[in-house]
Subunit: 262 residues, 2 copies
Amino acid sequence: MEMALEAAEKHPARLYTLGPLIHNPQAVEFLGGLGVKVKNRIESIPEGTVIFRSHGVSLKDLKKAKEKKLHIIDATCPIVKKAHFFANYLDRHGYALLIVGDAYHPEVEAIRSYLKGEVEVVDNVEAVYRLGPWEKLGIIAQTTQSFNLFKEIVTTSLEKAKEVRVFNTICHATTIRQKEAVEIARKVECMIVIGGYNSGNTQRLAAICREIQPSTYQVETARELNPKWLAKKGKIGLTAGASTPSWIIKEVESEIRRLKSL
Amino acid sequence: MEMALEAAEKHPARLYTLGPLIHNPQAVEFLGGLGVKVKNRIESIPEGTVIFRSHGVSLKDLKKAKEKKLHIIDATCPIVKKAHFFANYLDRHGYALLIVGDAYHPEVEAIRSYLKGEVEVVDNVEAVYRLGPWEKLGIIAQTTQSFNLFKEIVTTSLEKAKEVRVFNTICHATTIRQKEAVEIARKVECMIVIGGYNSGNTQRLAAICREIQPSTYQVETARELNPKWLAKKGKIGLTAGASTPSWIIKEVESEIRRLKSL
């Protein structure tokens, strides 16, 4: 996000992002105001500068951007880059690869596009039973995946492979955020999760909280807060997805305080 | 066992085993009748032939046997040899090593004696929480360990290590035996487990069955069967540890049939 803002200042015109920069509509709108255009296909970018967003970019798009001689600003998250590195390492060393994640998430699509060997993307334990057996199995995760699902899939895969080599590529901040959200959810009577409806990690955060506290609600902005949710409730808990800008979090917090004081 | 019998025929005198050849007193007694002597320390073997039993032998004992110029018959189980191979491989490649097993079991003691780096032997999940964290963690298991414990320890270790590399060294026959024993225990009203009281894998088998069917009894021989266990019971289930000779199993089976027909 900071990188994109800097770029927007330096390259006021002909600045594009390939897909929305982050899974947060309000942040994307804000960038739009600065003249940054969102294009979903590299073919639609005629010239100028392209920002590769935090999710990373596929091999095909990387090649096309180079062919078109676009100026590239690579804002791929360093944690995502690490996941790329370990996926490629395992692939090169003859491991069949399991990626714990959502097959259609751009991060996973990008990671997958660089691999030459056998790759499977799984988001549930049952799927593992239908795969394998393997001699050598490598496992990594989409960086914002649930750590518990990751652990369950590793455990299950042990029944199907002689060697299992696991790199924990889950973003530590994501794991901590999930753990903290669970602890908060345990102590409150209502839980608000802030983040884009198109953000996988925000949805997972909401799902994890809802298991503990059924009165859990997801909002994208302060305006969506429903006073009825907060009425007659004691402590209210608050958490936000990885890509939620801090100004949105602050707005939601203020609005909750205002509504509670009425 | 077959190997040892063959050796006993070829080398009728001066034939020793280092420790009881297998964890089954009746089988050891039988070999004693053939002139095979059990010595617990290599120092007590003056000359002649030494049989390294299925559990394998420590580096120290191997060196001493060579120094003494004893003739060596290596009856180490091939599955145990594989565990040695993977433990050494991980050790050589800079992995801290977790061995899922009993620290004082001769198999584990032997595997451990060849390793140069950090090694920990764990037989419960809680122990893992007190260890680490690690950058690179390798995990193997004593060949007759419970697969469930192995899985739980791998899962737990994921919280403590960035890379976890697992070789499943559990004897497939042991895993199958445990699974089958559980299925049998579910269908019967009394479960008999045959095997040496000093056999770890037999004890584990009995413990696993007892969780399903509280009326589970371990015996070493047919003589130990108590008619009261079988009285007023429907189907009786039967299983045996890895080192239980088939003639003992057959004797127990006949005795159960005899007692049930009374």
